[in-house]
Every structure is written in structure tokens, then in C-alpha cells.
């Protein structure tokens, strides 16, 4: 009898420990996603700023206007609809770099854009890796059943074209 009670208590304690541990783990993972998003956001802003610093070197025209408009849109964008805004900026940049004159100043601006794009790629990879981990854990039975994630939204992947933007020269 006492043996049964002891066993039941032991099981309850173990389950409680496991649930607490999983909840803590989930919390840390969400924090990692938030941090990764903050990092990605910073790099996207840096890229938009780098895009705008190309403007003085671009001949006036439709391409330059498109870069300006979309860079400003990217700087203003929140988390919602960000992918579309960033892809639009990438397309505008691709169309514009062809018109960039090969001057030392333009090359400096382009190097900065390239550095920013590389970091967007890295930050995106790290962000998506954090999202993968979190989603995998949240889809497991126990966290779902006990709603261990609370009210936090399921984190989503961030997918944009961040391949290098290169001038024809």
C-alpha cells in the first residue's frame, strides 16, 4: 500500500519535473527565435541603408527611383509582409546595379551592400534554424496537450532571395 503510494508520488514528481524542464526549454527556444529575429532585422535594416547609399552613384532614372522607394519601404516595414518587401528591394537592386558606373566610390558602396547581403544570408539561416527547433518541440504531443507554449505565436520561417547582387563588371 505505502509502496504503491510512494510509486505514485515518484511518478507524479518525475512527470512534474519533466513538464517543468520542457516548459523551460520551450521558453529558451522562443527567446532564441526572438534574438535571432532581432539579429535578422538589424541586418535587413543595414542592407536597406546600404541600398540607399548606392543612390548618389546611380544615374537618375526609373531604376534609382525604384531602389529609393523600396529601400524606404524596407526600412519602414514591420515583421508582417517583410519577405515581399525585401524581395522587391532585391529585384530593384538587381535591376539597378547594371547602371552603376565603375568608380572607386561606387565600389565602396557596393562592397558595403555585399557585406550586408552576406550577413542577411547568415542571419536568415540562424533564424530559420531556431524556428525549426522551436516548431519541432512545439509539435510534440506533451507541449501541445499542456499548451506549454502559452499564447506565443508559432514562429514562422523567413524566406527571401539573399543571393549576391553583383554588377556586370
Amino acid at each position: 500500500m505505502t509502496g504503491d503510494v510512494a510509486l505514485a508520488v515518484a511518478i507524479v514528481v518525475l512527470v512534474a519535473l519533466y513538464v517543468t524542464w520542457t516548459a523551460g526549454r520551450l521558453d529558451r527556444m522562443h527567446a532564441r527565435v526572438d534574438a535571432a529575429w532581432a539579429g535578422l532585422d538589424a541586418q535587413l535594416v543595414r542592407r536597406a541603408a546600404a541600398a540607399r547609399s548606392l543612390l548618389p552613384h546611380l544615374p537618375p532614372g526609373a531604376e534609382a527611383a525604384a531602389v529609393d522607394e523600396r529601400a524606404i519601404a524596407a526600412l519602414a516595414a514591420g515583421e508582417h509582409g517583410r519577405e515581399a518587401v525585401e524581395n522587391a528591394l532585391t529585384r530593384a537592386l538587381r535591376a539597378a546595379v547594371g547602371r552603376l558606373p565603375r568608380t572607386p566610390a561606387a565600389e565602396v558602396a557596393l562592397t558595403e551592400l555585399d557585406a550586408a547581403s552576406t550577413r542577411v544570408g547568415l542571419a536568415r539561416s540562424f533564424h530559420n534554424s531556431a524556428v525549426t527547433d522551436t516548431r519541432a518541440l512545439r509539435r510534440r504531443r506533451l507541449p501541445r496537450l499542456l499548451r506549454l507554449a502559452g499564447h506565443r505565436a508559432m514562429p514562422s520561417f523567413f524566406d527571401v532571395d539573399d543571393t549576391a547582387i553583383l554588377p556586370p563588371w
Binding site: A35, Q43, S125, S129
Partner: protein, 411 residues
């Protein structure tokens, strides 16, 4: 940027990961970053260690991944790791091989914040990964950015740990190797060079020794220079009696002499049988301008640009090795071509280039929180005594304990 690097293997034994950590640390310091390296130290005097190194205790030998790894774990190492993390206040913690149950894993468990991990191993069937892969997954989830040194290493990360990793290759200080003079007092005749642990089967010295009589039959005055730590007598027993006088065992060579060893060869031979993730030795040899003959491992094939920058032979095939070496020793023009192609290839692996890519990863990751102790994994630090290298501390701790006991017994 304040960077904390963790090396899981003994600092005072030469090895690929150790060299990588050392070179990366020195390159980062040169670039103006503040760097501290935490690594196990077995034998070396504190005075011989570089200023950036913090010893984390001694290691235990464990058979791992086809050879003996000296790993570091236990309460003393954990305490030292926690102390190092607390003092370091790092912007980024960079762990090397965190799947190996050693210091990097301890640091990963003990810390939180911006963490980068570099995966070196390309051995998919590594026992540690199989055993620990799933169990320790939660601990490794904290890592923010993952780097793999080769596509093979990246595949291990993706398939066994379910993560993605960015590719940043191993580095070599190309300018330290280029133009190194050959060693003094070398034996006359065409020279082959082997460098690596001589008692480690996967480095493949036995394949080369097996091929040597066939090579000597075609190139009678051929000489073989063998450099690297290990039991010299065991190797002597392996040498065919007909070619004993051709094998020159140099033993462990200093870092400073390594470029000269490569430069002493007409050919550098890498007969590795498996377990090689990257082939840093190849790049070092290539940087000195010595043409390379290597076994056809995926990592070697990649570094040698599919055979454009060095000759390849089937893994473990002594006959093919002999044929390849003989053909090259008889063809000076081909050796020159390989050497030219190689010096072009190695530029991409120069540390100054590679470290910049690593810093890009740091900067991306460090946008998150700085590194601190993970208080959810908190436990009291153990008293740091019981290390044999520290007799003063042990007796001091005993004296304190005796004083406490005496106080309680005699009022």
C-alpha cells in the same frame, strides 16, 4: 569584440582542431578583437602557454572516432569553465566540436547567449554522435550559429543533428608556409614527406610504408621523411628491411619547423584512410609549393580541386600510391604544374580571408544577448582542489578543513 573560444582537445598535443583554434585566436587578436581560449592542458608549463589561453584541467584518454581522444570533463573542469565564462563577459562564445563529450559541451551547457559552434568532424558514424546525438540535443539547441569546415562536416550536422550550418573552411597562414627553406642535412635523392601522428592508423602511414619497396624499385635513391609524434619503434618494425635506410624518422617537429619539413619534400604524401574532414595538412603542404599525392577521400578531392592541384589515388591502395608517386617523381614538369595550381587554390584558405568570414558570423550572432552563465543549469561550484598539478592548493584546502574540525571539536 570579446570572443571566448573553447577547444575540446588537449592543447599540448598537436591536432587539427587545436591548431585551428590557435590560429583563429591569433588572427582575431591581430584583427583587434579580445580573445580568450579555454582548453584542457595536460603536460605543458603555464609559462609555455600563450597569454590568451586558460587551462581547464587535465584530460582522460577515450577511444573515439577510430583513434584515442583525450577528453576533458568532470566537476573541476565545469567549475573552471563557469569561472572563465563569468570573468570573460564575452560577446560571443565560440565552441569547437560541441558534440564531443568534452569541454565545449560543458561550456555549452553552462552558458547562454550568443553562441557559435564549429563542426570539424566528417565521420557520419561517429560513436559519440550516435549515442549522444538525440540525448544531448536539448543542450546543443542553445547554439545560435553553426559553422561547418567542409561540405562533409556540414552533412553530418544536417543529417545527425537536424540543423543547418554555414560553410567556412579551415584556415592556413599561407605566408608562413610559402617560401620556407628545406631542412638542413637532408639525405640526397628524391624525397617523400609524411607528416602526422605515426601511430594513428587512419593517418595511413602503413599504406605508404607498404608502397615504399615498390617505389624504391623504380626510383632507387628515394628517401622518406616521416615527421610526427608517436612510437618510433613500432614504425621501425613495420618497415620492409630492404628499405630501412630510406626511412628517416624525424619525430615530433615544432610548429616553426613544419613549413620546412613540407618544403623538404619533392612530394608530400597523404595516405589517410578515413576520418579526415578537411585536409589542412594538404593545404599547408600546398602553401609551401610542394606537390601533393593524396588518397581519394572526399575532403582531399575537394581541396585538390578534383585532382587539378594534386594527384589522387584510391584510398588504402598501396600499389596505386606507388604508381602515382613513381610517375610524379619521374615527371618534373607535372610536379611544377601541380605546384602552380596548388598555390592558386590555397589563397581561399588563407586565415586572413577565413577569419573575416568567421567574424561575419560573430557579428550576425552577437546582435542577440551577450554570453552569461545559464542560471537554469545552476549548481554550486565545487572547491577547485584535487588536481595533481596543484599540490599547494590541496594542502591549503586540507589545512582549512582541519582548522574547521579543530574549532568544532575543541571549544
Amino acid at each position: 569584440m570579446r570572443v571566448g573560444l573553447v577547444c575540446p582537445y588537449t592543447w599540448d598535443v598537436p591536432g587539427g582542431v587545436q591548431a585551428h583554434v590557435r590560429d583563429l585566436a591569433e588572427c582575431l587578436i591581430e584583427m583587434g578583437h579580445q580573445v580568450s581560449v579555454l582548453a584542457p592542458v595536460d603536460e605543458a608549463d603555464e609559462a609555455d602557454l600563450p597569454a590568451y589561453l586558460v587551462p581547464a584541467g587535465r584530460t582522460v584518454p577515450v577511444p573515439y572516432n577510430g583513434s584515442v581522444a583525450r577528453l576533458c570533463f568532470g566537476p573541476v573542469s565545469l567549475t573552471r569553465t563557469r569561472r572563465w565564462l563569468r570573468k570573460g563577459r564575452f560577446d560571443v562564445l565560440h565552441l569547437h566540436e560541441p558534440t564531443v563529450p568534452s569541454l565545449s559541451m560543458l561550456a555549452c551547457f553552462a552558458a547562454r547567449g550568443s553562441m557559435v559552434a564549429t563542426f570539424h568532424t566528417a565521420t557520419a558514424r561517429s560513436r559519440a554522435l550516435q549515442v549522444f546525438g538525440t540525448t544531448l540535443q536539448p543542450g546543443l539547441e542553445k547554439i545560435t550559429g553553426r559553422i561547418a569546415v567542409s561540405p562533409a562536416a556540414r552533412r553530418v550536422v544536417v543529417e545527425h543533428l537536424g540543423h543547418d550550418a554555414v560553410l567556412v573552411p579551415n584556415g592556413v597562414y599561407v605566408d608562413r608556409f610559402a617560401g620556407a627553406p628545406p631542412l638542413d642535412g637532408l639525405p640526397a635523392g628524391p624525397r617523400l614527406v609524411f607528416l602526422g601522428r605515426i601511430d594513428e592508423p587512419r593517418k595511413g602511414l602503413s599504406v605508404l610504408l607498404e608502397a615504399l619497396p615498390a617505389i624504391a624499385a623504380r626510383v632507387p635513391d628515394v628517401q622518406l621523411l616521416v615527421a610526427g609524434p608517436g612510437d618510433v619503434d613500432d614504425v621501425r618494425d613495420d618497415v620492409d628491411p630492404r628499405v630501412t635506410d630510406r626511412v628517416h624518422l624525424l619525430g615530433l617537429v615544432s610548429e616553426a619547423d613544419k613549413p620546412r619539413v613540407y618544403a623538404s619534400g619533392d612530394l608530400y604524401v597523404a595516405p589517410n584512410t578515413h576520418g579526415e574532414s578537411f585536409g589542412i595538412v594538404l593545404i599547408e603542404a600546398m602553401a609551401t609549393g610542394t606537390p601533393v599525392v593524396a588518397s581519394d577521400l572526399p575532403a582531399f578531392r575537394r581541396v585538390l580541386d578534383d585532382g587539378e592541384a594534386g594527384a589522387l589515388f584510391p584510398v588504402g591502395d598501396a600499389e596505386a600510391l606507388a604508381a602515382s608517386v613513381v610517375a610524379l617523381l619521374l615527371d618534373g614538369e607535372r610536379r611544377r604544374q601541380l605546384s602552380v595550381a596548388a598555390s592558386r587554390v590555397v589563397q581561399a584558405y588563407d586565415w586572413h580571408h577565413v577569419a573575416r568570414q568567421v567574424v561575419e558570423v560573430y557579428e550576425t550572432v552577437a546582435a542577440a544577448a551577450p554570453v552569461e552563465l545559464d542560471e537554469t543549469a545552476d549548481e554550486p561550484d565545487v572547491e577547485d582542489f584535487g588536481q595533481e598539478d596543484d599540490p599547494g592548493r590541496v594542502s591549503e584546502a586540507l589545512r582549512r578543513w582541519l582548522a574547521v574540525v579543530r574549532e568544532r571539536v575543541a571549544p
